[in-house]
């Protein structure tokens, strides 16, 4: 009897496998989404979902009043301003270094604005699309002044703290291998643990993007005791990212970022916006949507750039608000200047 039952079970199982396994795949589903771009989804929702770090002063941080502030946060607000004319129509989600890519890939967040470095592997094998670079950074190393460490060679056989899931581990390994310096990496999941361990003295150095080092140094017990070496271990262009395969949404995000840069180049700020709306310069008029149909191809209003500048300001204002001389970070603009001032920010023509 048991044998008979076994035979029946196997037969039914085989039949179900054969019938369910050969489902034909939808040819149009490969690559592009279900047909509707994320732009439509976001507009219907009425709110943008933005993935940020939430733990990095200057880039994405929760201030004392409970509001999200930072460069990355303002980029998201700019996108919301362009879409809804309302910079508060954003929901922020804190993502750590490990979950950020999966969150974008699966569509849990619409845009990832989380000081993420643009690299070839993230563009291709992870399948993200990167909007223009909003912050040109590099990887650096922070040490204690009292240890008398002048260069990477002094870190031979020492411990270096870092965070997992970032380009930092690989860059550090590459640079140390290039110089032939053995060292011991101590890697943590949580960024706070990494810096706390360095502050306690377990590691002789901590490595991360220079902007992050400067930002976190201000939170250490005695910021003056720590020195950031001049060695630049890598290029770290930080850019917002969206999921691959959605051209329309990617164009929207891309051109909102360019709009902030172009606004600074044209000298348009949130203060003189009203005055410049009645300007006679055709470039300015077209940019602000007074004439022409700039937004049509993107699926936005023609004056989306004006909305961005009105609520958020141009790139220079955004930068100074979070990383400028008035803030505790006081980061020099360096490469983050317009191309006309010797930097790398260059927006294609708005025509």
């Amino acid at each position: 009897m048991a044998k008979w039952g076994f035979i029946v079970t196997t037969a039914l199982l085989a039949m179900s496998l054969v019938s369910c396994g050969g489902e034909p795949t939808d040819p149009t589903a490969a690559g592009v989404g279900t047909g509707q771009s994320r732009l439509g989804t976001v507009l219907n929702r009425g709110q943008l979902i933005c993935g940020v770090s939430g733990q990095l002063p200057g880039f994405s941080f929760v201030d004392q009043s409970g509001r999200y502030t930072g460069l990355d946060v303002d980029i998201c607000r700019a996108i919301a301003a362009a879409l809804f004319d309302d910079p508060t129509a954003v929901e922020f989600r804190n993502l750590n270094a490990k979950e950020r890519f999966t969150a974008v890939q699966t569509g849990e967040v619409d845009v990832l604005s989380r000081n993420t470095t643009w690299t070839i592997s993230r563009d291709s094998s992870v399948g993200l699309e990167f909007a223009p670079v909003v912050f040109y950074d590099g990887q650096g190393i922070m040490v204690r002044r009292s240890d008398n460490i002048q260069s990477l060679e002094d870190l031979k056989n020492q411990s270096i703290c870092t965070q997992t899931g970032t380009t930092n581990e690989q860059n550090l390994a590459d640079q140390m291998r290039k110089r032939g310096i053995p060292y011991q990496p101590v890697v943590f999941e949580d960024i706070n643990t990494a810096y706390a361990t360095y502050a306690e003295g377990r590691c002789q150095a901590v490595t991360s993007d220079r902007s992050q080092l400067l930002s976190r140094r201000s939170t250490l017990p005695q910021p003056k005791n720590h020195l950031i070496l001049n060695e630049v271990l890598s290029k770290e262009p930080l850019a917002p990212a969206v999921a691959g395969g959605d051209h329309q949404w990617f164009d929207v995000v891309k051109w909102v970022v360019y709009a902030t840069i172009e606004a600074e180049e044209l000298g348009i700020t949130s203060a003189n916006l009203d005055e410049l709306t009645s300007s006679s310069d055709p470039v300015v008029r077209r940019f602000l949507g007074v004439e022409g149909d700039l937004g049509q191809g993107l699926g936005l209003d023609n004056d989306f750039a004006a909305q961005v500048v009105k609520h958020i300001g141009n790139y220079g204002e955004i930068y100074n608000r979070h990383l400028g001389p008035q803030t505790s970070l006081d980061l020099e603009r360096g490469l983050n200047q317009l191309w006309t001032a010797g930097g790398l920010l260059y927006a294609p023509p708005f025509r």
Partner: protein, 391 residues
């Protein structure tokens, strides 16, 4: 008059048919559900343009690992890095399980001690460690204990050449030298000799009572082998590798990093608290009559516990003990919070650098599942050995 042949019941009136049909339906339902999930996954991945495949294991890892039990460099492929992670995990699991058992059994028996102070201390230990989160305990050990040790150049030196510093614990260790193979050969020869003698004894069917002579033979064979090796080489086979301060820091000896020590101590003490309660429950489940009878025979407390009560308590202790071992094995994945490079950490880094979420998760789940099933298997075999043998 002929009788009609006995009519068989129609199959739908046979209870056995319904039992089997129910089983078959359940199996089909589960299989279809699993297939549905799998199809959903592949369709979604196809939409996102992500291919499944394990070829990324061949690519260069390009990251360094802090502790490597075997040789590793960033040019090695990902599978080498994952192997290192696995070895690190196994280090923690094996040592952790052994230590947790020792500590847990001790504390469990202490909970039932006649001494009031010992009893209360054990109770305090168990209640504190069972009721606080493990991650919190790990952070406590890391930040409050190990990182408060002095820096390497001012390392604390304990007698026996043990160095304690922020970097970790350095213990004196033995290492093989040039004459070790000769010693090993002699010892091997001695063991072969012992094996031969044992085999001959078995064949002759030794009478009971003379089994103790076997140990005498074994020990004398090993002693003879040692003597022979000493005569040949005039040198001990292992050298002391003592830790010492050099210009560039501490060197030598066996290095147990702060991260490893934190994870080990944290996991051991946490799991031992649970094991202590299981041991206590097992011992208390042995009928009081056994205690009384053993005492009536004139045995002292210690012998009663060892010879009479504990072997009976083992039957109740072993199944929940298996669960605690599995908990320890899986809790070791918290290593990433304190910076110890175990399999979970290496898999995370691999996932981050290659973006292959599904494959890496499958690998991780497969690893933990295999290790856990292995532990369960061994413990179940042991369980069968200590079970009550019913006739």
């Amino acid at each position: 008059m002929t009788r009609f042949p006995i009519q068989l019941k129609p199959f739908w009136r046979d209870v056995r048919f319904w039992r089997y049909a129910g089983q078959v339906l359940a199996v089909v339902a589960i299989a279809s559900f699993a297939l549905l999930l799998w199809n959903n996954l592949s369709r979604n991945l196809q939409q996102l343009g992500i291919q499944l495949g394990f070829d990324f294991l061949q690519s260069q890892a390009a990251f360094d690992i802090g502790e490597t039990p075997i040789a590793y460099s960033p040019t090695d492929p990902y599978r080498q890095a994952l192997l290192i992670g696995l070895l690190n995990s196994l280090r923690i699991m094996v040592v952790g399980i052994l230590l947790a058992t020792v500590v847990g059994v001790t504390v469990g028996i202490a909970r039932l001690s006649d001494n009031w102070l010992v009893r209360q201390l054990a109770a305090l230990y168990v209640e504190t460690l069972r009721n606080t989160p493990l991650l919190l305990q790990l952070f406590f050990w890391y930040f409050a204990v190990f990182l408060n040790l002095p820096a390497t150049r001012n390392a604390l030196v304990l007698p026996g050449s043990i160095y304690l510093s922020q970097r970790g614990i350095l213990l004196p260790w033995l290492q093989p030298n040039t004459v070790t193979p000769i010693w090993l050969a002699c010892l091997g020869g001695g063991l072969v000799l012992v094996g031969g003698i044992w085999f001959r004894q078995q064949q002759r069917r030794q009478q009971p009572g003379s089994a103790s002579r076997i140990w005498l033979v074994v020990l004398s064979a090993i002693a003879l082998a040692g003597l022979l090796a000493w005569l040949l080489t005039a040198q001990p086979p292992l050298d002391w590798d003592l830790p010492r301060q050099t210009g560039a820091g501490l060197a030598g000896g066996l290095w147990l990093s702060s991260e490893f020590a934190t994870l080990l101590i944290g996991l051991t003490l946490y799991t031992a608290a649970f094991i202590a309660e299981i041991v206590r429950a097992g011992i208390q489940a042995v009928p009081k009559g056994q205690w009384e009878a053993a005492r009536a025979l004139g045995l002292q407390s210690g012998l009663v516990m060892r010879l009479v009560v504990f072997p009976q308590a083992l039957r109740i202790i072993v199944p929940p003990l298996t669960s605690q071992y599995l908990n320890l094995a899986k809790n070791s994945s918290l290593a990433i919070a304190v910076g110890y490079p175990d399999i979970y950490f290496v898999a995370s880094t691999t996932f981050n650098q290659t973006g292959r979420a599904v494959e890496v998760m499958l690998l991780l789940m497969g690893t933990y599942l295999s290790i856990s099933l292995l532990i369960s298997l061994v413990m179940n075999l042991y369980n069968r050995a200590v079970q009550v043998k019913e006739r």
